[in-house]
């Protein structure tokens, strides 16, 4: 997926639907081999994803960025695949053929962690002059094969996380400040400033909840378009949220539900060393190993949870775009250029439904207005349940300086690096030289 490719629809505002290709076999290439390799392909992806969610002390926060990028690419593939399945051209064009028709920057169903995808298409893609690539250009491209996907994952992850933190970071920062200042003020019995801690905490929670009304759908829009600016297409994203509000609330419920065991595991990772005799008797180096093994298990849970969340979010986004177009809440011109190209190639842009009778319109509008208010209230309660209840209680039980409130793995950086600095230092300190 290219970060810089811009499509210019100006010369073709309402193109005619493409001619359906000749009926072709919709069989996949090498179907039996695909089935046999499926466990290994997914096993490898889950293994790497889990490892990147916990790769070591502090390093995990960097490798976890690549997990975000990979998930964005996977969500993109799932959304476009969903549209393809609904396309009238499906009987005539296999999924692989459709991807081939999109060129080297086509979505992928199973993004790779390291190695280039669509190798042949990328190597043979014309140069900037539109001609066949020169040998030198081809050679340079060949050199990037081993790590091209890693680079894509990293850049997309950085962009995605910057956008997410731009909206959620304020609330998280205020919560962190309120906790630190509030308890410091309480310890020093600063009655005069007693309100600052709780008020900033409540403000931070409110800001975070407000951001989370928008962020999951915005993440999907950015992921599918591959364009970080799409994250800030507020009207488009908010229309999508409103068009599929019920499943969107369901998505929030799933995230909050999956966050609960994660919080529990994160807390137990700390408390266990006071109750588990094996952990209590271990040396610092052995304890670091035990903790690392435990956190790898937590990382597996985290990565699988993220797959579930992104799969659901992709499904909701995919249906929301079509519904918004069908109902006339969004128009063809509102679509991101990349989305427009795909939907038009798939002949998936739905015809706008005729407007209902005025009386029906009024009844629908008032029912929808009330229903949405209830859904928004439920959404706020759900996000409060995650940050206000889970995180605050979790941090009381096992405090993580700064990152406890600043980062939520299911929403922001998917890292479970909870190794205490003092344990890492004492475990990795070189042993004193034997005087003998």
């Amino acid at each position: 997926m290219s970060m810089t490719q811009e499509l210019d629809p100006l010369h073709d505002e309402h193109p005619a639907p493409p001619e359906p290709p000749e009926p072709r076999s919709t069989k996949r290439r090498w179907p039996v081999l695909g089935i046999l390799l499926w466990p290994f392909r997914w096993g490898w992806r889950i293994l790497v994803g889990t490892t990147f969610c916990f790769s070591g002390y502090i390093l995990s926060y960097f490798t976890a960025i690549m997990v975000v990028g990979w998930l964005y690419r996977w969500a993109q593939g799932r959304v476009v695949h969903g549209w393809w399945k609904q396309s009238p051209l499906r009987p005539h064009q296999s999924w692989e053929d459709f991807l081939d028709s999109l060129g080297p920057d086509a979505p992928v169903s199973r993004p790779r962690w390291f190695v280039m995808s669509h190798v042949r298409e990328k190597l043979n893609h014309p140069g900037p002059d539109g001609q066949k690539p020169s040998r030198l250009r081809r050679a340079a491209r060949i050199l990037t094969i081993p790590f091209h996907s890693a680079w894509c994952n990293l850049t997309l992850g950085v962009q995605g996380l910057l956008c997410v933190f731009l909206l959620t970071g304020w609330g998280c920062a205020l919560m962190t400040f309120s906790w630190e200042f509030g308890w410091l003020n309480s310890f020093n019995k600063g009655y005069e400033q007693a309100a600052i801690g709780p008020l900033t905490g409540l403000t931070g929670i409110a800001l975070f909840i407000a951001a989370m009304f928008y962020v999951p759908m915005a993440q999907m829009h950015m992921a599918v378009t591959g364009d970080y600016r799409a994250f800030f297409h507020v009207r488009f994203v908010w229309t999508l949220v409103q068009s599929r509000i019920t499943p969107y609330v369901g998505l929030a419920a799933v995230i909050v539900f999956l966050a609960l065991p994660l919080q529990g595991l994160k807390t137990w990772a700390g408390l266990r060393s006071g109750y588990d005799q094996t952990w209590m008797d271990a040396s610092d180096a052995e304890l670091l190993q035990l903790l690392s093994n435990f956190l790898r298990g937590v990382a597996l849970y985290l990565f699988v949870s993220l797959l579930i969340i992104y799969a659901l979010a992709a499904r909701i986004y995919q249906s929301a775009v079509l519904k918004a177009l069908r109902r006339g809440w969004l128009h063809r011109e509102d679509l991101h250029p990349r989305l427009r190209v795909w939907l038009e190639k798939l002949a998936c842009v739905p015809e706008r439904q005729p407007d209902p009778h005025d009386l029906v319109k009024v009844v629908r509008w008032s029912a929808r207005w009330n229903y949405r208010r209830v859904m928004y209230a439920l959404l706020a309660v759900l996000w409060f349940g995650m940050v206000g209840a889970q995180v605050y209680v979790g941090e009381f039980l096992n405090y993580h300086p700064a990152i406890g409130f600043l980062n939520h793995p299911l929403v922001q950086i998917p890292s479970v690096d909870y190794i205490p600095a003092h344990l890492h230092e004492s475990a990795t300190r070189p042993a004193p030289a034997d005087p003998h």
């Binding site: 310890f187 019995k189 009655y191 060393s273 006071g274 903790l291 039980l397």
Partner: protein
């Protein structure tokens, strides 16, 4: 069988006696004191016999019992003297006494490592399972069935209530009511007194209600608030919390610091200020100071813990200096320092000592007994081999002050020395 006819002389004699008796009774009924003097002594129930009768005056040493509290670990206090956060206790006070570095809270079912429980273990000399008397979740209004050292002391000696003090912090109002147990032979008759900001606020409110000029609705509201504050002791409304000495004490505190609560020292420092003022004005014979701010580390900031240790240490130094400056206290006061509980040592947490959730480390504490100069061991003595119990402190104080502690379960620490 018919009754014999009443003899006229016998009738007149009995009637005169009866009338005389009646007139006597009627006369003495107007004078209760005379009546009481003439009333026969009622038989006293056997178990209450010791509640009455004179008690000798107390002439032994004073004891300052420091609850080095909020939960502290040996590691930051006594285990490594060159890295201690309480230098006065370890380097100076311990020079005059015996430092027990291997004291524990027994690891038994039902025995919790927490503040209220630890305080009651120290006060009663028994490990017990305590729960809120109404079984409310997270509430800690405990009732001890075993007498406290204050009750033992006051039952043995004639010491006024205001000279047996618990100095308590504002964050643990429940501990204001550990002044007496529910034991039928002790209990409220021999209760101690609490000095705390909560009691000061109750005093202020009482004075306001007594002397204030309010409208009826405002007065009613203040009276209601006063009743609620007094009713915090769920066993009895503590009418005797007032006394002329205490009223003078609080009046003096009010004159000095005002009524806003913003001028007086705060946190554990206010406990030190109350203790110093008590030594000067109330001259307590047994005073327990319940330091607690180390517990703030529950909220995650490790510096709360170490900072609180240093504040407690400095508070003990100030009390010690006040004792040295007082003629009546200088050569006559023993210091006993003991934590209410330990803290965890969870190495896989960013703050290993964040809690005291009944881990092995939470049961590990220490104790220090320091005598006036020249009266203790010749040099600093450290007892670290034999394991001692936190509940030994009760009998230890009893031995120092020479009163019996029949319900305390463990031997005195002094037996080891």
């Amino acid at each position: 069988m018919s009754t014999p006819p009443l003899d006229r002389r016998r009738f007149l004699t009995r009637s005169a006696a009866g009338l005389g008796a009646l007139s006597t009774v009627l006369a003495t009924g107007c004078d209760p004191q005379q009546q009481a003097a003439k009333e026969p002594v009622q038989a006293i129930p056997a178990e209450d016999v010791d509640l009455v009768g004179p008690r000798p005056p107390y002439k032994g040493p004073n004891v300052v019992l420091i609850r080095f509290g909020g939960g502290v670990r040996r590691r930051e206090t006594v285990a490594f003297p060159d890295q201690t956060w309480c230098p006065f206790v370890v380097h100076e006070l311990a020079q005059q006494g015996v430092l027990f570095t291997n004291v524990e809270i027994a690891n038994k079912p039902g025995v919790s490592t927490s503040h209220g429980q630890g305080t009651l273990f120290i006060l009663t000399g028994q490990y017990a399972h305590y729960e809120d008397f109404e079984k409310r979740p997270l509430a800690e209004r405990f009732v001890s069935p075993i007498p406290t050292i204050f009750e033992y002391l006051r039952r043995t000696y004639d010491i006024p209530e205001y000279q047996t003090l618990i100095v308590n912090g504002e964050d643990r109002v429940n501990e204001d009511f550990y002044t007496f147990s529910n034991h039928h032979q002790y209990g409220i008759h021999y209760k101690s007194t609490v000095l705390s900001l909560y009691r000061f606020k109750t005093y202020l409110l009482r004075e306001e209600v007594k002397h204030g000029n309010f409208s009826e609705p405002v007065r009613a509201q203040k009276e209601k608030q006063l009743r609620e504050m007094e009713a915090k002791d769920y066993r009895t409304v503590d009418h005797t919390v007032q006394s002329p000495e205490l009223d003078r004490f609080w009046e003096g505190w009010k004159q000095y610091y005002g009524t806003t609560g913003l001028v007086n020292p705060r946190g554990d420092r206010v406990l030190t200020a109350l203790a110093l003022r008590a030594i000067k004005e109330l001259q307590p014979r047994l005073m327990m100071v319940n330091y607690q701010d180390a517990d703030y580390v529950h909220w995650g900031n490790p510096h709360f813990y170490t900072r609180a240790l240093a504040i407690m240490d400095d508070g003990i130094r100030q009390i010690y200096d006040a004792v040295q400056a007082s003629e009546s206290y200088r050569n006559n006061t023993v210091f006993v320092v003991v934590p209410d509980c330990g803290r965890d040592d969870n190495r896989t947490m960013s703050v290993p000592f964040q809690h005291h959730f009944n881990t092995k480390s939470a049961h590990e504490i220490f104790a220090l007994i320091a005598w006036p100069r020249g009266q203790g061991p010749a040099k600093k003595t450290v007892v670290n081999r034999s394991l001692q119990q936190q509940i030994s402190v009760t009998r230890t104080v009893g031995e120092i002050m020479n009163f019996a502690t029949p319900h305390a379960a463990a031997d005195s620490l002094l037996k080891v020395v």
